[in-house]
């Protein structure tokens, strides 16, 4: 018995031997293809349904992402520690990048030509040309 075998963290050493059959992988591939087709179809949806299209796209993107990670990358069948690391890291990274985007006012349209704001439809007005108030002498 080695020192490693005595370690309390060896509980995962024999985890995750299962492999789905070839048919399961074909089915998963088919589902991913259908989802991709649906995603592409949203590009031609009417303009009025743009917000719905964005929501649908994000949901399908998340489903595809998780499907590939769970089945093709074997996270579903592999050691639990990898799944935990992946989920923890993913949530943390998403939070960090959403926070970064918020810091740059990604969600706002303040009207200034910065970052994600659309181009101005009208020219920027010139700054006020009034001279600053003069300070009386002796004060």
């Amino acid at each position: 018995m080695t020192a490693v075998a005595e370690s309390p963290t060896t509980e995962h050493s024999e985890e995750g031997h299962g492999h789905p059959s070839d048919l399961v992988y074909w089915k998963v591939g088919g589902i991913l293809a259908v989802l991709t087709g649906l995603e592409v179809s949203t590009y031609w949806w009417p303009k009025g349904a743009r917000h719905i299209a964005v929501a649908v796209l994000l949901i399908m993107m998340a489903i595809k992402f998780c499907t590939v990670a769970l089945y093709f990358m074997h996270l579903k069948f592999d050691a639990k520690i990898l799944r935990r690391l992946f989920i923890t890291g993913f949530i943390l990274a998403s939070f960090v990048y959403l926070l970064a985007l918020s810091t740059f006012q990604f969600w706002d349209h303040s009207g200034t030509p910065k970052f994600n704001d659309p181009p101005r439809s009208q020219p920027i007005p010139p700054p006020p040309t009034e001279p600053p108030p003069s300070i009386p002498a002796g004060e």
Binding site: V4, T9, T10, S13, E15, M61, F72, D117
Partner: protein
């Protein structure tokens, strides 16, 4: 001295292990039960997530930034010399086909990993070759897309939006290219007496699937969301 011996047994998981190719999820003599190589690849993919997360965030920030592309040739219903946003230049049907191709390559990679775990060398070469071919088709499509953009007037330095776009998709393309090199190397190694282990194929597969996962994000965020 005892500590040193313990560390030695941790850092040399394959010494004396005869069934290295017996199964891709076989238990390893490490603290985590996962081989150091595989854990290293997962950590590497984690750092890659940070890289692509930053690139995607940058593109999102700059995608509508003032700054327009002046068309050199008539395209998308706009005349020569007229201003146009870069998203108007996207050829969605063409990029969709590329996405399907990359998705299909992920499926073929899975079968390559399965063939490796079953010790089926001929099938392994076939699936690895198919995956590399599909990856090459994807890269060819990207080169064609980039060339079209440049001809239409959208270069790397046209505006900040185009810089962010080319950096993001270009980095992804480089990753796919490196993946193709890995796949071809694996095929070449199968002709040697000492073939690559099933786990080595799985680790290459992890990288390839990661590249596919990143494209799932890029395709939606960059191309499809208006």
């Amino acid at each position: 001295m005892a500590d040193t011996a313990q560390l030695g047994s941790i850092s040399e998981p394959h010494v004396g292990v005869e069934d290295d190719t017996a199964g891709i999820h076989a238990g390893h003599h490490t603290n985590t039960g996962i081989s150091n190589e595989k854990l290293g690849m997962w950590l590497f993919l984690g750092s890659e997530c940070l890289l692509f997360g930053g690139l995607i965030s940058t593109y999102l920030l700059y995608k509508n930034r003032p700054g327009i592309v002046i068309l050199k040739v008539a395209a998308k219903g706009a005349a020569v010399g007229s201003p146009i946003r870069i998203s108007k230049l996207f050829d969605i049907p063409f990029t969709s086909v590329s996405s399907f191709v990359l998705l299909a390559s992920s499926l073929t990679m899975v079968f390559a990993v399965l063939a490796a775990s079953r010790d089926q060398t001929d099938k392994l070469r076939l699936w690895l070759g198919t995956t590399a071919l599909l990856g090459a088709v994807f890269i060819g499509g990207q080169v064609y897309e980039f060339t079209s953009f440049v001809k239409e007037g959208l270069g790397f330095t046209s505006n900040v939006s185009s810089s962010a776009f080319f950096t993001l998709t270009g980095f992804h393309g480089v990753h796919v290219t490196l993946g193709i090199v890995m796949l071809l190397s694996c095929i070449a190694l199968t002709f040697r007496a000492r073939k690559p282990s099933a786990e080595a194929i799985e680790i290459v597969g992890l990288y390839w699937h990661f590249v596919d996962v990143i494209w799932i994000l890029i395709f939606t965020v960059v191309y499809l969301i208006k």
